[in-house]
């Protein structure tokens, strides 16, 4: 009995599967600013950039905004939000230990945001896009808006409110109280090793 050739099909599936380890996308739960120390994703973010004294997070989303996804790895935190009006990846935040703000324009911050320094990159560098750096002790959050205030003023105001910052020290205390564990890094005693 002759078997039909199936090499092509098997090779196609094989190639697709072999590519799996190189692909990485994420669907972690969203990093909410609500004070809940049980949010493991919050815990992971504090571990990713242990020097950061503030932890960027997502405030309550306005209608039309959705959580896009996130990546958390050592030294790097990245999450993004989608909008039904300005498209996917409308607000994209990346936190690292440091970033360069040379040549950027300093902007004033609200009185509530003590400890934050805000810089905006020149619009000519990224036409149609707004890039801001929120610098704080031990960390820097770069927020990229896929639009400008001039193009969509009301959406820009909304988008600015979507990102908040929690104090790392609050989380360190909560973990110690609830789990009996000591986080390493800023606002915590030094760790062994």
């Amino acid at each position: 009995m002759k078997r039909p050739p199936r090499q092509a099909g098997v090779l196609f599936v094989a190639a697709s599967i072999l590519l799996l380890p190189t692909c990485r996308a994420s669907s972690y739960p969203q990093l909410l600013c609500d004070d809940d120390s049980r949010q493991n994703i919050l815990h992971l973010v504090t571990q990713a950039v242990p020097s950061a004294t503030l932890i960027p997070c997502i405030e309550r989303l306005h209608p039309g905004w959705t959580y896009g996804g996130s990546e958390v790895r050592s030294g790097f935190v990245h999450f993004w939000l989608d909008s039904d009006r300005v498209g996917d990846d409308a607000v994209d935040l990346t936190m690292t230990r440091a970033c360069s703000v040379a040549g950027d324009t300093p902007l004033p911050v609200d009185a509530d945001d003590a400890g934050l320094r805000l810089y905006e990159e020149a619009i000519v560098q990224h036409p149609g896009v707004t890039v801001r750096h929120y610098v704080f002790t031990g960390g820097c959050a770069t927020v990229r808006y896929s639009f400008t205030r001039q193009a969509a003023p009301s959406i820009f105001d909304q988008a600015e409110d979507l990102i908040g910052y929690n104090l790392r020290s609050d989380h360190v205390r909560a973990i110690r109280r609830e789990a009996g564990l000591t986080l390493c890094g800023a606002e915590a005693p030094p760790c062994p090793g």
Binding site: V13, L18, C23, L44, E71, R73, S74, C191, G193
Partner: protein, 558 residues
């Protein structure tokens, strides 16, 4: 006729050697998962339970975290400046997608090269399952990295279960089970893989990027799933990893299966098998043909008998073969596929009995034996000792008449052989014998019967000439019947072996026969039906869905 007494029956059993397998006794070749397989299933169930409990009860998770933290703090005491870069390098190399991707690619290429499709599919499926489970569990538990100890390595995402450990483990286990032959070589390979995983795990604990429980769970997933998959879908007794030449459809008849064949033939048929040797493998892809040497009895001398081993893989091959033909040609394959290997072997046993009952020159059936219930059976029949394939025999008038009369008798009995080719026609003492009756169909379509006649005439003409065969054919068939036969015979209507032989021959035998017979319009091979349309459409939809799923996995699973 008087009933035989109990004593007589008992005596007959003793003489024949037959023995009924009592309830609870394993079959000749039992299907075993093995102790380690059961252990891995238990560990996987334990891991899943722990994951659910940790999510449901935060305090339990914290207890694990504290224990993990304490263990890593103790381990961090052995950190030394010179050892740090070594451990970082080990982790970087072994967790790198480049390393793992290349190991997988090389394994897949090797498996394609050795045409070990079943192993390849199980290997790929294990990878998909392990990667998907590791990722989904990591998202479900969303476990942070170790606390209370300085992390000195790089990490990515939640820690439980450790995805790099699971990825490397499934890859190494896959290599061991698909490329290394069972026995000493595989044991050595297992130790090597184990050693590599141990060093890798130690490096990740040393760096404090993973908790001990993350490593443990990564190993359970990455080793347990492929081990179970390979034991279930590519058991070594059925699909051994060997580097001897042979067709993939042919089963190994040594080792435990060889012993099972001897036991089954003795207990179920009363035959004492001295030797089981594969035979004629090149002419058969749908089963494993064997020549069995059977010990002499008070009634018969030592002799050879013929057997064919059928496994589930043959049923699957038959199913996909028929599906392909039904889509390509419509009504060409006017039958439903077999649903089980038992039905497969029962059908061949029936056709052998039927042809013998009709007095046709086919092998005498001895019945079939069960090797592994519902998975593997062996059909046993007469071996035509001393017969030669028609391609190597002298084809004289007696042989030509024998072949044509055979088809006439098949027609008269309402049968079609459907696989008339040189490999299935034997000659012994000037008599033509027909073997391999698996494709025989009762009440076939007229087209099928016509094709049988044309194929027989072509086989006979290959060793003689068309005019001679045609003249002999007129003794058994009308000119119109012969014209119909050659109007029906084109391309795929003839078995591959016959088509190849015709191609090698300098003459155009089909044209010669057509010129001899009255003119007749060709019979169309392509038949359109609702079934063919639905089948074709369904296959297209399934292919599209699989493609979407694979692409979707690339984006969602990892």
């Amino acid at each position: 006729m008087s009933e035989p007494s109990n004593a007589a029956l008992e005596r007959e059993r003793r003489v024949s050697g037959k023995r009924r397998r009592p309830s609870g006794e394993p079959p000749p070749l039992p299907r075993k998962l093995g102790v380690s397989g059961v252990v891995w299933i238990g560990l996987a169930a334990f891991l899943f339970t722990i994951a659910v409990l940790v999510v449901a009860y935060a305090t339990l998770g914290y207890s694990f975290d504290r224990w993990n933290s304490l263990s890593l703090q103790r381990l961090s005491a052995v950190r030394a400046g010179w050892l740090d870069p070594v451990m970082l390098r080990v982790d970087d190399v072994l967790s790198s997608p480049w390393t793992i991707g290349n190991l997988r690619l090389a394994t897949a290429v090797a498996l394609v090269g050795f045409r070990r499709w079943r192993h390849l599919i199980v290997f790929l499926a294990s990878i998909v399952i392990v990667e998907a489970l590791a990722y989904e569990l990591a998202i479900f538990v969303a476990s942070p990295r170790p606390d209370g100890v300085r992390i000195i390595g790089n990490w990515d995402g939640p820690s439980f279960p450790s995805p790099p450990v699971a990825s490397l483990a499934v890859t190494l286990v896959g290599i061991v089970y698909t490329l290394v032959p069972s026995g000493r070589a595989r044991s050595l390979a297992k130790w090597l893989a184990g050693g590599t995983l141990f060093v890798f795990a130690f490096a990740r604990l040393y760096e404090a990027v993973d908790h001990p429980t993350d490593i443990l769970s990564g190993l359970i997933l990455g080793i347990g799933i492929p081990v179970i998959a390979f034991r279930v879908f590519t058991p070594n007794e059925v699909f051994p990893v060997t580097y001897r030449r042979g067709r993939a459809a042919h089963l190994d008849v040594g080792g435990r299966r060889g012993e099972a064949i001897v036991t089954a033939a003795r207990d179920q048929l009363g035959l004492s098998v001295l030797e089981a040797k594969p035979i004629g493998l090149e002419g058969s892809g749908g089963s494993t043909p064997l020549r069995l040497r059977v010990a002499a009895t008070s009634e018969a001398p030592e002799r050879y008998i013929f057997a064919k081993l059928y496994a589930k893989s043959h049923v699957r091959a038959d199913r996909s073969y028929k599906l392909g033909r039904a889509i390509l040609y419509g009504a060409l394959e006017d039958e439903a596929p077999f649903q089980s290997v038992r039905r497969f072997v029962e059908y061949e046993d029936y056709t052998l009995l039927l042809l013998n009952h009709l007095g046709l020159p086919t092998p005498m059936p001895y019945g079939f034996v069960e090797i592994t219930p519902e998975r593997e059976y062996m059909i046993v029949m007469e071996f035509f000792d001393g017969a030669v394939e028609i391609g190597d025999a002298v084809v004289d008038d007696e042989v030509i008449d024998g072949g044509l009369l055979l088809v006439r008798r098949l027609w008269d009995a309402g049968l079609a052989h459907r696989d008339i080719k040189p490999a299935n026609l034997m000659v012994r003492d000037g008599k033509l014998l027909l073997i391999d009756v698996f494709f025989v169909q009762v009440r076939p379509s007229p087209w099928r019967q016509a094709v049988d006649l044309a194929n027989m005439m072509l086989v006979l003409a290959l060793r003689s000439d068309a005019k001679r065969v045609y003249e002999h054919a007129l003794k058994y068939f009308t000119e119109e019947e012969i014209a119909e036969a050659f109007a029906a015979t084109r391309g795929v209507a003839s078995p591959t072996q016959l088509r190849a032989a015709l191609k090698r021959d300098d003459r155009d035998l089909i044209r010669e026969f057509r010129e001899l017979a009255p003119e007749r319009r060709p019979v169309a091979i392509q038949r359109w039906s609702v079934r063919r349309f639905v089948l074709g459409l369904s296959v297209l939809v399934v292919v599209a869905l699989v493609a979407l799923l694979v692409v979707g996995n690339g984006q969602v699973v990892l």
